[in-house]
């Protein structure tokens, strides 16, 4: 179980290898990679966070996933600072003996992260900076795990 907040990029293969190295009991690894979308008027993205609370929130997300699924290992890496369109923002990895547990745990961790980890995005475009609005759809996505 590893969580990291960093300005630099990450490498999915290296992160996956770090999870699986030296063991042969993992059957499935699901990764989610979030990327900065460009679109016409976004030239840069700035990621702000709440140091200290962020790490606690990410650890809490992992421990909720571990309680719920057969999760052998997981990784959450979130970048902060300035990012360009096309760059990687976030990586979630979930390793399990079985594929559906890996899919569900990764999906859950992303839904949780979206609404519970203290990160804020500001887009810069020709008209200046604009803080990204939270989406109701993200709250709804989280609610489905309560069922």
């Amino acid at each position: 179980m590893a969580i990291r907040v960093q300005t630099g990029d990450f490498d999915i293969s290296a992160e996956t290898a770090a999870l699986t190295r030296g063991r042969d009991d993992i059957g499935a690894v699901v990764s989610f990679t979030g990327l900065v979308r460009g679109g016409g008027d976004v030239s840069q993205m700035e990621l702000e966070h709440y140091p200290g609370m962020t790490e606690n929130a990410l650890r809490d997300i992992e421990s909720r996933a571990v309680k719920r699924w057969n999760l052998q290992a997981s990784t959450i890496v979130h970048r902060v600072g300035p990012l360009q369109p096309g760059e990687q923002i976030v990586l979630v990895l979930a390793a399990s003996p079985h594929r559906q547990d890996a899919f569900d745990a990764a999906n859950f961790m992303m839904d949780y992260l979206k609404t519970r980890a203290p990160f804020w995005k500001k887009e810069t475009g020709p008209a200046g900076g604009k803080w990204v609005d939270a989406r109701d759809a993200d709250d709804d996505a989280l609610l489905r795990w309560d069922a």
Binding site: Y50, M53, K114, T115, R116, P118, F119, W120, K121, A134
Partner: protein, 81 residues
């Protein structure tokens, strides 16, 4: 107590954190104290439906106690991921 501001709340108030001496018992009372101090606080806290609060790094509601807390943070809904 340390009070922290993030994202557009930080920008409206004009600083990332400050030491605040208060006798407020709840988050809501602290917000009311700040709002009457200066216009920039009133602007930042004009729409409380868009404001989230953490006391000692745990998300809480506006009516939560801040007695004994060392850190209160105000920020908009999260948009990471």
């Amino acid at each position: 107590m340390q009070v922290l501001y993030f994202a557009w709340i930080r920008e409206r108030i004009g600083l990332p954190k400050e030491q605040v001496e208060t006798t407020a018992g709840t988050v809501a009372e602290l917000v009311e104290e700040l709002k009457v101090r200066e216009e920039r606080y009133a602007v930042a806290f004009a729409d409380l439906a868009s404001v989230r609060v953490a006391v000692d790094q745990q998300m809480v509601d506006l009516d939560a106690s801040i007695i004994g807390a060392s850190e209160v943070a105000f920020f908009p809904p999260m948009t990471g991921g």
